[in-house]
Symmetry: C2
Subunit: 80 residues, 2 copies
DNA sequence: ACAGAAATTTAAGTCAAGGTTAAATTTCAA
DNA sequence: TTGAAATTTAACCTTGACTTAAATTTCTGT
């Protein structure tokens, strides 16, 4: 999966604990952990917005794309 | 919804037509149109990756967060 | 003004997965 | 070593990202 979650860097920079963030944005620790470790296949904008609000960041600070020349060929059949 | 889709700017910059992008990444024109106009509430990373691949961009170039001081208060009850 | 392409919208439907709670296990820091 | 933080698994619920189809609207060129 060429989409990588860069959550830890933000957390560290803000000096916050995941548990605290989860409580602040009203999401379960479970889900935040799954997101954090790249185990989710998508995200709702409502959740993304809350994360950005709490961490005072942009979506691009949480989710990045690792370019891969094979992505375009693989667009038709199933990827990830 | 504080998440805003900045798709049109990219499209124009690349000089591509939405129909073409839809065909390239294997997504319906319908869905791309809905995404483009901010009518979807989330996105799968597989789709996001394909968009990034075709448009040669980062997630942050497609999705931005408009900071709103009310977001944190609204985190508990329903937003969007 | 006309014609065709591109884009939007609505509707109806499928189903993957984002989300939850609960509980056990593992990791981390004082 | 002891408790808090984090991870993982499982079972479940519900949303909504997707699809196709078809009608309508907007855009573009001639």
């Amino acid at each position: 999966m060429p989409i990588r979650i860069t959550f830890d860097a933000l957390l560290a920079r803000k000096g916050m604990k995941a548990k605290h963030v989860a409580a602040l944005i009203g999401v379960s620790e479970t889900q935040l952990s799954l997101f954090r470790s790249g185990k989710v296949r998508g995200i709702r904008f409502s959740t993304l917005a809350k994360l950005c609000a709490v961490l005072e960041c942009q979506p691009g600070d949480l989710v990045v794309y690792d370019a891969d020349p094979l992505d375009l060929q693989a667009a038709d059949d199933g990827d990830d």
